[in-house]
C-alpha cells in the first residue's frame, strides 16, 4: 500500500526542488538595478499614504452573508437539474417550496433595505 505513494512523493519533491532552484537562479543570474522609484510599493498609480490596518464598512458583511445564502441555493438546484426527469412532479413541487421559502427571505431583505448602500 505505501509503496504506491512513492511516485506522488517524488513528484512533490521534484516540484519543491524546481521551485526553489528557479527562485534561487533568478536571484543570482538576474541583473539588479535598483533606484528609488522602483522600490516604492507601486511604480505607477496612487501613493499609499495611510495605514493598511483600516476599518472598512460593515456593509460588506451583509452582502457577503446574502451572497453565500443565494449562492448555496444554486448548489441545491444543480443536483435537482441533473435528476430532473427522475424526480418528476415530486421534485418540482419540492423545489418550488424551497425557492418559495428563499423568496420570502429575499422579500424580507428588500423590505428591510439590507441591500441599500447608504
Amino acid at each position: 500500500m505505501p509503496e504506491e505513494y512513492i511516485p506522488i512523493v517524488l513528484i512533490l519533491l521534484c516540484a519543491l526542488a524546481f521551485g526553489m532552484v528557479a527562485v534561487w537562479l533568478s536571484r543570482i543570474l538576474g541583473p539588479r538595478r535598483d533606484y528609488p522609484e522602483k522600490l516604492t510599493t507601486y511604480e505607477s498609480g496612487v501613493e499609499p499614504v495611510r495605514t493598511a490596518h483600516e476599518r472598512f464598512s460593515v456593509k460588506y458583511y451583509m452582502v457577503a452573508v446574502l451572497f453565500i445564502l443565494f449562492d448555496i441555493e444554486v448548489v441545491f438546484i444543480y443536483p435537482w437539474a441533473v435528476r430532473y426527469r427522475a424526480l418528476g412532479w415530486y421534485g418540482l413541487i419540492e423545489m418550488v417550496v424551497f425557492i418559495g421559502i428563499l423568496l420570502a427571505g429575499y422579500i424580507y431583505i428588500l423590505k428591510k433595505e439590507a441591500l441599500k448602500w447608504d
Partner: protein, 475 residues
C-alpha cells in the same frame, strides 16, 4: 403526486409552523411596527399546529422517504415544544416590550427555532436530525444576541455560537463515521445493521461523537461550559425559551437517536451516559450554591436537572423515554413559571435579577412571591407538585433497571438543591426590602403564563399517573 399529499398531511404540524413562520416574516417585512399582528398570527399558528399534532398522534409512521418520524412519539415531543413556545411568547411580550427589544423578530425566530426542533427530535435519518439541529441552533444564536446594545447579550451570543458550532462539528463527524460503518444515514437501518452485539470500531466512534454533540445541547457535564454565561447573558425571555424548548429538543433528539432507535447499541453507552448524569447532578447542584444571581443559579440547577433526565435516557427503555418526556413537561411548566416571575422583577436594563433584589417580595407582591415559591418547591421535588413525580418516575425506572447507584446520587443531590432553592424563599419572606427597591409590576401576559404554569404544575402533581400513561402510550 399522491406521495406529496401523504407526506404533507403526515408532517402537517411541522408545515403549520413553517407556514406561520414565513407568513410572520412577510407581515413584519411590510410593516416594521407590526409586533401585535405577528404575535397573534404566531399564537394562531401554534394553536393550529397543536391541533394537527394531536390529530396525527395515533398514526405513527415516517414521511419523506423515511427521513422524518411522524405521529406517535414525534407528536409527544412536538406538543412539548408548542407548550414551551406558547408560554415563552406570553412572557416575551411583556419582558421584551420593557427592554425595548424587537418583539417581531423574536416571534419569527422562535417559530423558525420550533421548525428546527421538530425534525431534530423526530428525525429518522441522521441528516434530517442534523439539519433540524442547525435550523434550531442558528435561530437560538440570533435570539441570544437579540438585545444588540447589551454587552452581556453579545458575549453570550458569541460564546454560544462558537461552542455550538464546534459541537455541531462533532455531531456531523459522528454521522460521517456511522455512514462509513453502515453505508446509510437512516437511523433504523443503522440499528438493524448492528443488531448483534459485536460493534465495529467505526460504529462505536461515530456513536460516541453523536453523544458529544447531543450532550452539549442538553448542557450535561462536561459539556456545560456555555450554560451559565448564555442563560445569564441572554434576555430573560430568550433564556426561558432556551431552558424549556431548547432542552426539550435536545432530550427529544437524545431519546429518539439513542433510546428509541439505536436501542440495542445504546446499552453499550449506558455507563457513559450514566457517568454524564452523575457528573451533571453533582456539579450542577453544588455549583448553584454560591450563585448570587437568580438566572445564573437556575442555569446551574438546569445542569443538575439535565443529569436527572439523563438517568432516564441511560435506561434505554420505553419507560425511561416516557419518564424523560414527563420530566420535561414538568420542567417546562416549572421553569417558565419561575422565569416569568424573574422577567417581571427585571427593569428596563435587564437588572434586578440578583437574589437580594427579591428581598421582601413575599410581602410587597404576595402573589408573585407565593407562585415563585411554588415553582421552587416543584424544582426541588416536594410531593404535591409535578417535580416530585417527575423525579419519582425517573428514579423508579432506574431502580427497576438496576441502577441503584445513580438513584442514590440523585436523591442526595436533590437534598443539596434544597439549600439554594430555599435560600431564595428565605430572602423573599424573611428579609426587609432595601431602600428605594422598586416594586415590580407583572404584565398581564406574564401573569397569564405564570398562572397557567402554576395550574399545570399542580394538575400534573394531582394526576401524574394519567398523564404519564398517556405519554408512555405513544412511545
Amino acid at each position: 403526486m399522491h406521495d406529496i399529499l401523504n407526506d404533507t398531511i403526515a408532517s402537517a404540524p411541522l408545515w403549520a409552523i413553517v407556514v406561520t413562520g414565513v407568513a410572520t416574516l412577510l407581515v413584519h417585512a411590510w410593516d416594521e411596527k407590526s409586533d401585535k399582528p405577528v404575535f397573534w398570527i404566531a399564537l394562531a399558528g401554534i394553536g393550529v399546529s397543536a391541533v394537527l399534532t394531536i390529530w396525527r398522534a395515533p398514526v405513527a409512521g415516517t414521511a419523506y422517504s423515511g427521513m422524518l418520524k411522524t405521529g406517535g412519539a414525534a407528536s409527544a415531543w412536538t406538543l412539548l415544544f408548542l407548550v414551551a413556545t406558547l408560554l415563552t411568547l406570553f412572557i416575551a411580550w411583556d419582558s421584551l416590550g420593557k427592554a425595548a427589544a424587537p418583539r417581531g423578530e423574536f416571534t419569527i425566530l422562535v417559530l423558525f427555532a420550533v421548525a428546527g426542533m421538530i425534525p431534530f427530535s423526530a428525525g429518522n435519518d441522521l441528516l434530517a436530525v442534523f439539519i433540524g439541529l442547525e435550523i434550531l441552533s442558528v435561530s437560538l444564536y440570533t435570539l441570544v444576541g437579540l438585545t444588540r446594545r447589551r454587552f452581556a447579550s453579545n458575549e453570550a451570543a458569541l460564546k454560544y455560537f462558537l461552542l455550538g458550532a464546534f459541537a455541531g462539528g462533532f455531531f456531523l463527524y459522528g454521522i460521517a463515521f456511522l455512514y462509513g460503518a453502515a453505508q446509510t444515514t437512516n437511523i433504523e437501518d443503522i440499528a438493524r445493521r448492528f443488531a448483534q452485539s459485536n460493534f465495529p470500531v467505526l460504529f462505536l466512534t461515530g456513536s460516541a461523537l453523536l453523544l458529544v454533540g447531543l450532550a452539549f445541547k442538553t448542557g450535561a457535564v462536561p459539556f456545560h461550559m456555555w450554560v451559565p454565561d448564555v442563560y445569564q447573558g441572554a434576555p430573560t425571555a430568550v433564556t426561558t425559551f432556551l431552558i424549556t424548548g431548547g432542552k426539550a429538543a435536545a432530550f427529544g433528539a437524545f431519546v429518539t437517536v439513542f433510546t428509541m432507535t439505536l436501542g440495542h447499541a445504546s446499552a453499550r453507552f449506558a455507563v457513559v451516559i450514566g457517568v454524564l448524569a452523575l457528573c451533571s447532578m453533582v456539579f450542577g447542584n453544588i455549583a448553584a450554591i454560591p450563585q448570587t444571581d437568580i438566572k445564573r443559579m437556575l442555569a446551574y440547577s438546569s445542569i443538575g436537572h439535565a443529569g436527572y433526565m439523563l438517568i432516564g435516557v441511560q435506561t434505554a427503555s420505553v419507560e425511561g423515554a416516557g419518564g424523560v418526556a414527563f420530566y420535561l413537561l414538568s420542567y417546562i411548566l416549572t421553569s417558565t413559571g419561575a422565569f416569568g416571575v424573574v422577567a417581571a422583577m427585571e427593569n428596563e436594563q435587564g437588572e434586578g435579577t440578583r437574589i437580594e433584589d427579591f428581598a421582601g417580595l413575599g410581602y410587597t407582591k404576595p402573589l408573585l412571591g407565593a407562585l415563585l415559591s411554588l415553582f421552587l418547591f416543584s424544582l426541588i421535588g416536594i410531593p404535591p407538585f409535578s417535580g416530585f413525580f417527575a423525579k419519582y418516575y425517573i428514579f423508579l425506572t432506574a431502580i427497576e433497571h438496576g441502577d441503584l447507584w445513580l438513584v442514590l446520587i440523585g436523591v442526595a443531590t436533590s437534598v443539596v438543591s434544597l439549600y439554594f432553592y430555599l435560600r431564595v424563599m428565605v430572602v423573599m419572606f424573611f428579609r426587609q426590602p432595601g431602600e428605594n427597591q422598586p416594586v415590580p409590576e407583572a404584565g398581564a401576559w406574564t401573569m397569564i403564563a405564570v398562572v397557567l404554569s402554576a395550574a399545570g404544575v399542580i394538575a400534573l402533581g394531582l394526576f401524574p399517573g394519567t398523564v404519564l400513561d398517556l405519554i408512555t402510550s405513544v412511545f
